[in-house]
Symmetry: C2
Subunit: 149 residues, 2 copies
């Protein structure tokens, strides 16, 4: 399938496409090599602009954090079947425990997954440094390269 490269490093376009979906399936590699994914809510991109990193709340002790410490590469997939929109983001993950950053990114919607709120000492951030991204937005499967560093 042909790849269109006119949008390379288009942070704004990537940000707009992700904003539309918000919940990513984050795939990590487990210690035995298994690839596992789970839904994760991306930072509010309306409030905090995309500058090359995507941010997710996590518990510092969560298994996915252990996965990322052993094998940094992650994939984020964003799917909106109703609009035929599919996005693949490749990057590296890193645990961030900066309390100020946690405060800056906190939003009450995260209470659904972190009921103890922003002062929970186990609450942390998983920063994904984006290395490349692509999208598909037509039933025919035409693809666009969105971003690459």
């Amino acid at each position: 399938m042909s790849s269109q490269t006119e949008h390379k490093s288009d942070k704004k376009l990537l940000s707009e496409k992700i904003k539309d979906v918000r919940i990513a399936m984050m795939t990590t590699t487990e210690p035995d090599g298994t690839l596992r994914s789970r839904p994760m809510a991306t930072q509010d991109l309306k409030a905090v602009e995309f500058d090359g990193d995507l941010w997710f709340f996590t518990y510092a002790t969560a298994p996915k954090v252990g996965d990322v410490e052993q094998h940094q590469q992650v994939n984020l997939s964003y799917s909106k079947p109703g609009d035929n929109l599919y996005i693949s983001v490749s990057g590296t993950g890193q645990l961030v425990q900066d309390r100020q950053k946690i405060k800056d990114l906190w939003n009450p919607i995260y209470k659904a997954w972190f009921p103890k709120g922003q002062d929970d000492p186990d609450l942390a951030l998983l920063k994904v440094h984006v290395e490349s991204a692509e999208y598909w937005d037509a039933p025919s499967g035409k693809m666009g390269a969105l971003y690459s560093v």
Copy 2:
């Protein structure tokens, strides 16, 4: 998040949940370790029952096939944001070039991605042998183990 194990090895439930979404984001590991995903149409589960393997049409020469030959593990994520449904399937991928199996699974909807149809000599199947699966179907993030071999 708590894991509920009452549905272990529930092929029927996994099949029903997947049927509802059909397009998976398939994540593979590239030779340099990058995790990449792309949308892929799962076999028609209304026509061909799930017996532990999921089937996808591919070109035999596609980059994802090369990924899988070097690193068998794949993840399939199925997302239906409108229903708050997210599924993660972990398994191993294998290229299958059996012409009879291609005929059995062929369906005109695949013409969107394989315009030359079922007689295209480069047309092949990617079989994913499912090792485990989980799902999330409530905003609170409660998870169910769906399947494990």
